[in-house]
Amino acid sequence: MVRLAAITRVELVRLLRDRSNLFFVLVLPLLLVVLIGAQFGGSFDARIGVVGPDGDAAVDAVVADLDARDGIATVAYTDRELLLDEVERNLLSAGLVLPDDVSDTLAASEPVEVAFIAQPDAGSQSLRSVVEAALAEHAAIAGAVAAAASESQVPPEELGATAADLREGLPRVEVATVAVGGDELAQEFAGLGQFDLGASTQLVLFTFLTALTGSAALIQTRKLGVATRMASTPTSIASILGGQAAGRIAVALFQAGYIVVTTLLLFQVNWGAPTATAAVVLLFSIAAGAAGMLIGSIANNDAQAGGLGVGLGIGLAALGGSMVPIEFYPEGMRVIAAVTPHYWANQAMAEIIRRDGTIVDVLPQLGMLALFCVVLLALASWRLYRALIR
């Protein structure tokens, strides 16, 4: 075990000592998690730009109402053209333009024309409904205050304050949106944190990619004659093979563990049930490490290993659903994707993270990953043994 641990340790030390690895192992995965979170993430507040008369009571009330709603934040604008431009450029989710005489018009119980500016997509329509509801509520209160004031001697300001108090005490109707029918994709990803999807898919991509590209270190060990020299020491061939395998697996586990810990700390990513996630990460890392060892035992030089590693690492990740979620694939492609360990790891992580799956729920995926481990380890060990002892 001492010898096996020595080989494993030296492989890990060499990976971390290579500065060129630091960007790809430590920085790039987090950058991609952030990028994917920015593209697909669902927990950003919808930003609604509001143009309206400064200090107007009706405008203040509508803005306060919108800000109080989950997932919405308002931003004050003074320039209608600027608001329009930023909605067009997707810097704002929507824009709302209230006329300068909005309070007076409401007090006169006359219709008010407001402009809602948004892109023609489903999200904008949802926002429009929320904005309309807020405006309708305040129009109704303003109309009621105006009517009451005309029928009584009570000043409108006092009636307005009373209406506001009454409104606070009244039960409110909360509307929850549930997608049904053809919008299965929306349901699949509903409830995910902004970085949850990116973190799990990038974990799968980078764990495998790092293990494959790290195979260049094994090529160096072979080409330099260090592996052969190891075989000339009183170290059993099994320990050498085990040490090389453990070295590659340690590299993969380091990559996976780094992504889990940093995304948990930096982005509060939900990794689901710890035991289930740990089991998936462990088996996938073993499969990745074994694949790295296989490449390291068949490639002739660093360049070949690097090319194969990057090509296979990215290709298999794309096929296995680490770049575009597997749910977007047509049925035929899903069948092909199942030949990759990435597919089973991504499916397991989806079960754990999106559907609160436990280790029991992902047993089929774990079984397939274990099969990949056995096959890849056997092949890699056989190839490396042949390279060491002829």
């Binding site: 030296v10 030390v13 330099l224 170290t235 002892i389």
Partner: protein, 330 residues
């Protein structure tokens, strides 16, 4: 002219007593496809003895030591190290052997000390012994001052010394050095040769492969001349030179068609071996002084011109030429 292809064993040097031998190789054979790389090699090495395998590149030296180090299975034959049979799985036999491969088998991105500590772990040294031996080896190979520098910052000679130091970590009974001075500057080369001489005085058995005649002559108590996978002659230097008998070496510097001149000399009855070395033709023959006019006439008949003549006593290179019909550098 026919080279003597049968192995010639001379005297009974120190390695001839198998009971005292550190290494016994018997009838080793190994083929790679159709190529018979090693074809019946056998020899023994005693404690404190330096044994040389001298032969050109491709003669089978590295294949032989790969089998002795347990890296390659022989197709036939047996290897015993300190009484233990050597196979790729025999870790006890391997514990008695220190291998210094021809390639620099070190991690360039680790320091000298890290490389030594790593291999000391593989040799099974405990922590205290590891520290002690690493410090000692660093001192012996002259790298104590650079112990914590990465190996890729070292000169070629320093890397070679580190390569040798790894083989010494566990104080093996048998040290195998496979062409340890290839690509080394003269100063480092001399330091390496002095180290090997010192190790032998401490009782270590050394198996030294080289294609440099001077190294074999300087270091080795006994030398095996290897060609095409066989030992064609074995013995001490004087014994090997004596196998040529009373042959002299004649070296003719030739201007003109050396191919025709060489053919003319090969046709001469008394010449036993002929080889070319650039513009020179080297012949082995008895009674060179007497035959020299005939040799010069034979060359002149080919319209080539002899520009210089040297007649000398034979060395190992000439022994090799005599036994194989070709030069050591071929």
């Amino acid at each position: 002219m026919q080279a003597d292809r049968s192995a010639e064993r001379i005297g009974d040097g120190r390695g001839s007593d198998p009971s005292a031998a550190i290494l016994i190789c018997d009838g080793l054979r190994r083929a790679f496809g159709a190529i018979q790389a090693v074809d019946g090699i056998g020899f023994t090495i005693s404690p404190g003895e330096t044994y040389g395998l001298l032969g050109p590149n491709g003669a089978g030296k590295t294949t032989t030591i790969s089998m002795i180090a347990g890296l390659l299975r022989p197709d036939d034959g047996e290897i015993t190290v300190v009484g233990r049979r050597m196979t790729p799985n025999s870790t006890r036999a391997k514990a008695e052997v220190g291998l210094v491969p021809q390639d620099l088998a070190i991690y360039p991105d680790l320091s000298a000390r890290e490389n030594l500590v790593f291999f000391a772990r593989l040799y099974g040294l405990d922590a205290a012994r590891r520290r002690e031996r690493c410090d000692e080896v660093l001192r012996v190979i002259g790298l104590a001052e650079r112990a914590d520098d990465r190996a890729d910052t070292f000169s070629g000679g320093m890397k070679r010394r580190l390569n040798i130091g790894i083989g010494l970590l566990h104080e093996p009974r048998l040290l195998i050095l496979d062409e340890p001075t290839v690509g080394v500057d003269p100063q480092s080369r001399n330091a390496i040769l002095e180290s090997v001489e010192h190790l032998a005085t401490e009782g270590m058995a050394v198996l030294y492969t080289t294609h440099y005649m001077e190294e074999a002559e300087r270091l080795c108590d006994r030398i095996a001349i290897v060609d095409e996978g066989r030992i064609v002659a074995e013995g001490t230097r004087p014994e090997l030179v004596a196998t040529i008998g009373s042959l002299d070496v004649v070296r003719l510097e030739v201007a003109g068609d050396t191919v025709r001149a060489k053919a003319a000399l090969e046709a001469h009855d008394e010449v036993t071996s002929v080889d070319t070395d650039g513009t020179a033709i080297v012949c082995l023959l008895p009674g060179a002084a007497r035959a020299l006019p005939q040799l010069l006439a034979a060359v002149a008949a080919t319209e080539a011109t002899v520009t210089a003549v040297e007649v000398r006593v034979p060395d190992l290179e000439d022994v090799f030429l005599h036994h194989t019909g070709k030069a050591l550098r071929d």
